[in-house]
């Protein structure tokens, strides 16, 4: 079984990435289950985002099995209340934070409050990491240090230029997990598995923006053993999200 720990459903940027688009791509790449988030931050300029997110989560619950709510930390207390409120939803199981889209660093106080809150709920926090000045793995490391009770997913393992920093920070803080999508280097995944252990690396595709076939080829190219693949492609996400 393959669980994709990072996919998107949303209508934004002229894209219509509906649950059906995601399901079609999952079928193409033989992915069994996916975790989704949105492109828009909540709350934000599009007040219908949350409603669509919940609709997407409830439509195919055997395929789209969980969601990370993409929170805008600039809303402060209101954002925390929203997290509290949606935590009752059975399929919302984590936070997504995009420091560039919100222009707030992973280690700024309103973000840290949300990261702590997630920890209290037993939720992981997925951070977009790498390639832009507000999403450096070392900034995410500071957040991980400040919130040791929260599991932090280093999205994209630092991307093009910061995969070494991503692994370095994950090595320093044991509550960091590396997610594999979008970084172009299979070698970064190989190194993450070697240095952190296969229990702390999770497959994600970033579909539909990225193609899951390309992303799975990257896992193949990383040359993992069958046991390592079992953890990276399935068991780690299952355990973290209680699937």
């Amino acid at each position: 079984m393959i669980i994709d720990s990072y996919a998107h459903c949303d209508v934004r940027f002229g894209w219509e990435h509906t649950p059906e688009v995601v399901l079609k791509m999952m079928a193409q790449a033989n992915i069994d289950k996916a975790v989704i988030t949105t492109y828009a931050d909540i709350p934000g300029d599009d007040p219908t985002t949350l409603e669509r997110f919940i609709e997407a989560l409830e439509k195919y619950p055997d395929k789209i099995v969980a969601g990370f709510i993409r929170i805008n930390p600039w809303y402060g207390r209101k954002a925390e209340e929203l997290v509290e409120e949606v935590s009752k939803h059975p399929y919302i199981k984590g936070l997504k934070l995009h420091p560039v889209s919100c222009l707030m660093r992973p280690n700024d106080p309103p973000v840290l409050s949300l990261v702590k809150k997630a920890g209290e709920l037993g939720w992981p926090v997925y951070f977009h990491s790498g390639d832009e000045p507000m999403s450096m793995p070392t900034q995410i490391g500071k957040s991980a240090k400040a919130c040791p009770e929260t599991k932090i997913i280093m999205g994209h393992t630092g991307g093009f230029f910061y995969w070494r920093d991503a692994i370095k920070n994950a090595r320093k803080y044991s509550n960091i997990y590396c997610e594999t999508s979008a970084t172009p280097f299979a070698n970064a995944i190989r190194k993450a598995v070697d240095i952190l252990g296969p229990e702390r690396v999770m497959f994600g595709s970033d579909m539909p923006a990225m193609h899951p076939t390309v992303e799975l080829n990257k896992i193949e190219a990383a040359g993992l053993t069958e046991d390592e693949k079992q953890l990276v492609l399935c068991d780690n996400a299952k355990l973290m999200l209680g699937l």
């Binding site: 894209w15 688009v21 994209h156 970033d206 923006a209 390309v214």
Partner: protein, 250 residues
């Protein structure tokens, strides 16, 4: 299949690949020809590095085509090196890496290199997508100044996985006739991806397959093109004809 972006030699930054290692990988993955470019060498002797690429091409002209790595900071010596590499060493293009060789692609020291390449009628492959150094919009600027020069924008001008530079890259290829997109590492391989939109905007002839070997894996890089929602003949063009036409090779 032609791979338009392979590195050979030993990089001062760590990676290594001999021409024999590359040949083995080409045979394994069905790549007929590769454009080989010397890594930035630890002695910073670019003449020697370019000779290394040229000698690999001399040994296997059926499999390799060579590009010269040029350091524009060397001023007139760099311009002479372009001339020597092309006329005497039979290399067929120039690679410019603004990060490894330390310059902005729009700076004056680069201008004379671009002029020289334009006069010699050889393409320039630019490591593109570095903030401040070679963002797509900056590639557009040099393309406007050198309308007869073929400029290959490596990695679709991204060098980041967020995709926030894609709109500029598409604008640049639409607004110019002389900029090409090279596909290694491009983000957004999925629905309505960069390569698909580029093909629909300007045609597959302006999109060039490359792997950025040995850092990137050939199978992953091939699949970046294979999964795109375009016709098989457009894919053939990306995999071989675009670069073939530009370098007059098959």
């Amino acid at each position: 299949m032609i791979d338009a972006n392979c590195n050979i030699g030993a990089s001062v930054y760590g990676p290594k690949q001999t021409p024999d290692m590359l040949l083995k990988s080409m045979n394994k993955y069905g790549i007929k020809k590769s454009v080989i470019i010397p890594f930035t060498p630890s002695d910073f002797n670019y003449e020697k590095a370019n000779n290394y690429a040229a000698s690999a091409v001399r040994k296997r002209p059926d499999r390799f085509v060579g590009f010269a790595r040029i350091d524009p900071r060397h001023g007139k010596r760099a311009v002479r090196e372009v001339d020597r590499a092309v006329k005497r060493k039979k290399l067929q293009g120039v690679k410019l890496d603004p990060f490894e060789q330390g310059f902005q692609i729009t700076s004056e020291i680069v201008d004379r290199i671009l002029d020289k390449c334009s006069r010699l009628d050889i393409p320039v492959l630019v490591e593109a997508g570095y903030p401040a150094l070679s963002l797509p919009i900056q590639i557009g600027e040099i393309a406007d100044m050198h309308p007869d020069l073929a400029i290959i924008m490596a990695h679709g001008g991204q060098l980041a996985m967020s995709g926030i530079g894609i709109a500029d890259a598409l604008d640049v290829i639409k607004d110019t006739k002389n900029v090409y997109i090279e596909t290694s590492g491009v983000p957004e391989t999925g629905a309505e991806c960069l390569v698909e939109r580029a093909v629909k905007c300007v045609g597959a002839e302006r999109v060039i397959f490359g792997t950025n070997s040995p850092m990137n894996d050939p199978v992953v890089e091939m699949s970046r093109v294979e999964v795109v929602n375009i016709s098989d003949s457009e894919k053939d063009t990306i995999f071989a004809k675009s670069i073939g036409q530009l370098l007059e090779i098959e």
